[in-house]
Symmetry: C2
Subunit: 431 residues, 2 copies
């Protein structure tokens, strides 16, 4: 087998076999197939596509290109959730304690924020002492004993994906459905997931801007899940405006805690119930979504979910006092409420613009490894469909620098659009 013949086959729109895809990926990771051949291959895949069978073979080859996590001795069924990334998406921090409180153990490896999207680890670390660097053994032990883990990636999971992604980034081969889908699914499979809830974000603040592309991606990932023997559910959720109210690390952490006390914006609450219900069904704890939803609701009402969050924070070295008293979280030096410049109905709160404004305040990083400011961000008071009077509070800025505060004011105001006519609220889910 020769790499060039595999490229030629894809160039000529012929389907590749599992053996050919494995040969290519293994050779690429081993350094036997050079970057230039992988780049030509990626461009041929982007322009000529891949069948679900080819995409599944690619996913599994990448998943098995490095270490993998085997949770079969630790839990009955290893469930995982993946969000395609957005603004104000702190779902994991609330949902995982909810499902764990319902008796479904959940262990998850999360990432950090990049660009205008936040990362779960950055939010959790606003609790002093919280460790995101558990070893594999610590991960397994905590999952078995406490039923909940939320940490960073300790293993070298799916190194082929990391290497290929870096190459795609500089060769114009990022926006390919088979390459995106296999990238996401390979990491989940390498992390030992047997059942996966995929939250595919759609809209102005998401990678997928149209419902049509989001649906294609979701269908493809479900195909991969099915062909790879993983139970998979994909949700299409709105990311035209930020999820919930808080945008920024400590602010989002507080909102995630408050949700477990039953105090949270309606959209964020509904979103969490829906994701939790799917996880409980996939994990075999609920017979159907209605039952899963009721269980999740109850876990909040009876304090079980909040208690599980306390267990998680404590197990990973965090200061539990922060959970019991959110007043302890670091606060920014300047907090300013910005009022609505006009009356009407809010018709847009552009998610990407808000995300970029938060990053500019210091909440995000331009490149891996950059430091971030956990205290800064926004509370978005008025969202799409809300009626607002001129002078009414629209949003709140938390900043540590007066110049940046002023810039943020302009930036977030420019994310807003108003209408004189009634505007219906955005749906939470599209399917």
């Amino acid at each position: 087998m020769r790499a060039v013949d595999i490229i030629i086959q894809k160039r000529d729109k012929r389907e590749l076999s599992r053996e050919e895809i494995e040969f290519f990926i293994h050779g690429f990771v081993a350094g036997q197939i050079p970057d230039y051949q992988a780049a030509a291959f990626a461009m041929a895949v982007l322009l000529n596509g891949m069948t679900p069978a080819e995409t599944t073979a690619l996913t599994l080859a990448m998943a098995h290109s490095g270490q993998t996590l085997d949770l079969s001795q630790v839990v009955d069924i290893a469930v995982d959730k993946h969000s395609s990334g957005g603004v104000g998406d702190k779902t994991s921090i609330s949902v995982m304690p909810m499902v764990a409180a319902c008796g479904l153990p959940v262990g998850k490896m999360s990432g950090r924020g990049l660009g205008f999207t936040g990362g779960t680890l950055d939010k959790l670390e606003s609790v002093p002492g919280y460790r995101c660097d558990l070893t594999t053994e610590e991960f397994k032990k905590q999952l078995k004993e406490k039923g909940i883990v939320l940490t960073g990636q300790s293993l070298d999971l799916a190194p082929a994906d990391g290497k290929l992604y870096a190459l795609r980034d500089v060769t114009g081969t990022v926006p390919s459905m088979p390459l995106i889908a296999s990238s996401i699914m390979s990491k989940k499979i390498a992390a030992g997931a047997q059942a996966i809830v995929l939250d595919v974000k759609v809209g102005l603040g998401a990678f997928m801007q149209t419902l049509e592309e989001a649906r294609v991606l979701a269908d493809l990932m479900m195909d991969i899940g099915r062909l790879a023997g993983r139970k998979t559910v994909a949700l299409l959720s709105d990311m035209n405006q930020p999820l919930g109210s808080a945008v920024g690390n400590a602010l989002e952490m507080v909102e995630a805690i408050e949700l477990l006390r039953g105090r949270a914006p309606r959209d964020y609450y509904e979103h969490c119930l829906h994701v939790a219900a799917h996880l409980l069904v996939l994990g075999g704890r609920a017979k159907n979504l209605q039952e899963g939803r009721e269980m999740a609701q109850r876990s909040i009402e009876d304090g079980g979910a909040l208690e599980k969050l306390r267990v998680l924070i404590q197990a990973q070295g965090g200061d539990v006092a922060y959970i019991d008293d959110i007043g302890r979280f670091e606060r920014a030096k300047f907090i300013e409420t910005v009022k609505s410049p006009r009356s009407g109905f809010v018709s847009q709160v552009h998610a990407r613009l808000v995300g970029e404004a938060a990053a500019a305040l210091g909440a995000g990083r331009a490149k891996k490894g950059d430091p971030i400011d956990r205290a800064v961000g926004f509370l978005i008071h008025k969202k799409v469909g809300d009626k607002v009077e001129a002078g009414e509070p629209l949003f709140e800025i938390h900043a540590n620098d007066e110049k940046k505060l002023a810039e943020a004011r302009t930036n977030v105001l420019s994310a807003y659009r108003f209408s004189d006519e009634f505007v219906p609220p955005l749906p939470l889910f599209y399917g």
Copy 2:
């Protein structure tokens, strides 16, 4: 400007500007744009195509990526010919003395054979002493004084093409019309050609297997010539069977000399007259093809062309005695005439199979730099359309090894097809 944005533009089927193409090619040659970006770019070009304007910009960027030859002080008009490569194609060796004898100075840089196709330099070097390594100064001096030069490439012409071709070879991006056309034309332009006759071979022994693709390539190269301000004519000539009778270096050299004495197979003679006529018209020595053809014919009849060949051989250090007495050329140890296994009409003499059989005998090389055996090869006596009786001589093998002789017998016989019905001869030109 960023390389990745140029790749993305081509990926998305948008036309590139001259500036963008120049930026990419210059960056690539300078090593600032890595191979993996060039590979992704080449695949995007192959799959999405290029307009004639883009292809011309690419050609000129490659032509000016290194040294160029300026012949404007040496000749009135620098003419050149290019053959896309075939089996038994010794045209340059006969045609250049013909046109030089008609008063049109011609200087040409040729290449060596690779795979099943022969190279002009390898054929010329069967004359002892003949030098193919003239310096640029020697080239210009000889062209001015003698009116004829045929040597190897001394300058680093179009290095971008060499670098890109090596990359295309290993990334499955060879068969792209814009990349093939720009590769050929960039070298001609760098070598100073102002008028170019392109001999595009079509058929079983050519890179272009169908008339349709050959026509597309020819049209594209004429477009480039026009847009780059070069007079360009493209001929489509048959390469289903070998051209003429001789295949193999010394055998072909002898056939090229014999043509200038008026003793040559009809197809090869007609081919040479046609190419010479076009060169004479382009070079302004003949008013039309008919006149060019008559001038070329006269150059053979009056011995002028043969004399020009003697001038060429002598000027480049070759032993002229070989031109006057072809019996001096090195002969193979074993010469065998193979007889026809049946009566009928020859319907095929598969050019690629004959070329591969010659290479197997030692006449060709598998990779650059391999040694070759100049004496071995074939004389093809019966060609498509010829009537043949069982037992009549079909072809002659010249070999230096008995085992290889036996293999060659089988190989060339397998290139033959016969028919009971009359088969018309193959046309020499398709347009």
